[in-house]
């Protein structure tokens, strides 16, 4: 149960400046894809195009395999929360997990779910902290938590290791591997050569467009026949 991404003649221009020259790509299912390249090369913009967050030219298709949850997880680079906003970690997560208005008292079962989620990302016991009180690493963990709260077949992560301590990096590397091994498709922006060499399946070099592609570990043959895939067009 996974998803592949088909990119046809994708081009991105903002204010008449070309950020991404026309490119084609096929992100195979169940693999860890790493986007790498210098700062300002257009990696984050490409990721946002893949998510349908930016208007682009060309076509992007998601091919959902049968049985895969048609949901996408996004871990952005950073989210700027206003430091003085009175909103706790718990409320921020509950807001996304249930439709019960966040200013009412939450149910006990929901609170347990939140606590379990926070344990998975190493934020246990910090549910009552306000978003403005979090360090850079803690924010990163919270962004992981909000992505982990539901099953997703496609994971897009923009420099997820930023601000994390060594223990945190090891923890989340393991988490990413588990997600990949469960058959999910991951697209990660990352800079660390050593890390990429050890964990990535495919590496896409971006510099104002696609300039290189190497397959470190080829994809396994999908166990579900292609014809059962559901094709969905992204943004555009």
């Amino acid at each position: 149960m996974s998803v592949s991404l088909e990119v046809q003649k994708l081009r991105l221009a903002l204010n008449r400046v070309e950020l991404i020259a026309p490119m084609d790509a096929w992100f195979a299912p169940g693999q860890m894809h790493v986007l790498m390249g210098p700062n300002g090369a257009g990696k984050s913009s490409l990721l946002k195009c893949l998510l349908g967050l930016l208007p682009f030219q060309g076509k992007i298709y998601r091919h959902w395999q049968a049985g895969a949850p048609r949901t996408t997880a996004y871990v952005p680079q950073q989210i700027a929360f206003e430091a003085t906003l009175p909103l706790t970690i718990q409320e921020y997560l509950l807001m996304q997990m249930s439709s019960r208005p966040f200013f009412l008292r939450p149910s006990a079962s929901m609170l347990t779910l939140v606590e379990q989620l926070l344990e998975r990302v190493g934020l246990e016991g910090k549910a009552q902290l306000r978003l403005g009180q979090l360090s850079g690493g803690e924010r990163q963990r919270l962004l992981f938590a909000q992505a982990l709260r539901r099953p997703c077949a496609l994971w897009c992560l923009d420099e997820p290791m930023t601000g994390l301590d060594e223990l945190g990096q090891a923890h989340f590397t393991q988490l990413l591997q588990e997600l990949r091994d469960a058959g999910h498709t991951l697209i990660v922006i990352h800079h660390d050569q050593q890390w990429i060499h050890t964990y990535a399946d495919q590496v896409w070099e971006i510099a104002g467009g696609l300039v290189g592609h190497s397959v470190l570990r080829p994809a396994l043959k999908p166990c579900v026949p292609e014809r059962l895939n559901v094709m969905q067009r992204v943004g555009g």
């Binding site: 949901t71 706790t88 409320e91 200013f103």
Partner: protein, 292 residues
Amino acid sequence: MEWIRSWVFYAHELGYLPDMFQYAFLTNALVSALLIGPLLGVLGPLVVVKRLAFFSEAVGHGALTGVALGILLGEPATEPFVTLFAFCVIFALLLHWIKSRTSVPYDALVGVFLSFAIALGAALILFVAKRVNVHILENVLFGSILTVRDLDIWVLLGIAAILTLLLGFKGNRATLSSLSPELAMTQGIAVRLYDYIFVLIIALVTVASVKVVGAILVGALLLIPATAARLMSRNAREFVLYSVLISTLSCVFGILLPMAGALPIPSGAAIVMLASASFIFALAIRRWRAIL
């Protein structure tokens, strides 16, 4: 409404309520205050998060033009509902639409609209004032408890019902859309639709509150209770609850106190002064907590 009024009269005759409750308009004003307070109070935190405080100020000023247009077009001067709502809603949607189309900073854009609304409104309302009563200007600007009719209360009740439904089912999604629009979009939330609905609700609530709070001051009642609540609260739950509490108490006592003291103060002014007092109180609480 009739049974509430007769019930209040009855309570007054039995001696449970002070003399001022013999006037029916006071009951009308109080009922509308009990609706306006929670409405503005619950929207306030969202307005503050989205930085839309001056947007509602501009829509409030638009009410001036709306009333004048209504009189020009022959609607009754005390309740020009159709033109008032139509003008303010179009004004709000237009402002929001231009915001999404240009790179002009939002505060500058709101400033332009706000000044234009006052200029047009002032010109039109003084033009029509000769035809009707000059006091209408004072009432529209600063609010008056004498002018609340049953229809106003029904309109408020309708908006309150819509808002309760929206908040109950879609409140979390709307809040997430304003906190982190990109995350909301990846979760399949129609962020722009929520934006427009929110702007529409703000416009409706603002216009519906103009009679009691006044065109000049209605924006303040969205801003001040929420800002005061933000200073005092440690989580979003307290934020919303305190905001509703401050807004409602300000509305109710802003109507009762001038009546009780027989002071010729417009209701809007009294309400906003009370809200401002609560803001100073909130500052003090925060200071006190920091010392402890």
